[in-house]
Subunit: 180 residues, 2 copies
């Protein structure tokens, strides 16, 4: 788990991204911004900041912030009960995002991963999302993403989000709890 | 139907709103911005401009633009086949939106409607959405909305959108076709 000091620092940076992109949040939303370090305690390498706008039984919307070169680790959204699993669309609002999905391995990918964690990244088909570009992921599809040097803001439009069901490739990862 | 000249003018104004709010669209998206005049040919009074980012069987996301005091007429999203109908969340990104839903009639509402169309607006419970504020509408709920004097941008997060099923209170309205 990250420290309170790290949390405060990362949250300040996150708010600066939202401000730069003219994304207005209410005070209540600012209070509940999530900083996910996935239990790895390496927030500047592996982490994700987000605000969840809505998450009903039927649909969900979030804005995600990635710091420069920060990586959301590889995971998938499996079928749960009557649902085929979470479907999600990532739309890049600011900066550049490198998204990796199953398919032919990209030669010279833009993202880099620390050597000790490379074995936990198994899909290397690169999709580059610049501002205004988006990609829709079917349920049960392994994926991961990393911001470019400016960091990035990503709007996520999806079906119901149930983070506790996400399956990460890295067995060291714990998605829950996050610091709020 | 609005004229080509009106369409071009309204589309230019719409693009200016997106630019002001730092919302980046691809050229392909700019080409398919919709201007809906609901067949009334009174675009500055009754109309809606929008870009649909995604609309799958399960979820949908759009950004809507309203010109100053422009009104999206009263309608609802009924159950269709196996679906209870479209659920939608409106999040105000820019300006102010006056949203009207069933409930106690608001005294001195902010929105005004031309006299000849007042009989087509039956719900008057006012919800004011300033930047960063949002409201979730259950399916089958009559609603309408009008922008304040600055106009507004609204992000809409919803289940699948099937405009052809929408039911408008004003029988003169035809939602489809829109000009693209």
């Amino acid at each position: 788990m990250i420290s309170r000091e790290e949390f405060t620092q990362v949250k300040e940076e996150t708010l600066a991204y939202f401000k730069k992109a003219n994304i207005v949040l209410t005070d209540e939303e600012i209070d509940r911004i999530e900083v996910a370090d996935f239990g790895l305690n390496r927030i500047n390498e592996f982490g994700l900041q987000l605000i969840e706008y809505v998450n009903t039984e039927r649909c969900c919307a979030k804005d995600l912030v990635l710091l420069p070169h920060q990586t959301c680790p590889e995971h998938l959204h499996p079928p749960v009960k009557d649902s085929p699993g979470k479907e999600e669309t990532f739309r890049c609002r600011f900066g550049t995002v490198y998204l990796y999905v199953p398919g032919p391995e990209t030669t010279n990918p833009k993202a880099t991963i620390p050597v000790d964690k490379q074995h936990t990244f198994t899909v290397w088909n690169e999709i580059v999302l610049n501002e205004g570009e988006q990609y829709t992921l079917e349920p049960n599809t392994p994926h991961w993403f990393q911001a470019g040097e400016e960091g990035s803001i990503i709007s996520e439009f999806s079906t119901k989000s149930t983070d506790e069901n996400d399956i990460f490739t890295d067995e060291e990862i714990k998605r829950i709890p996050v610091v709020k």
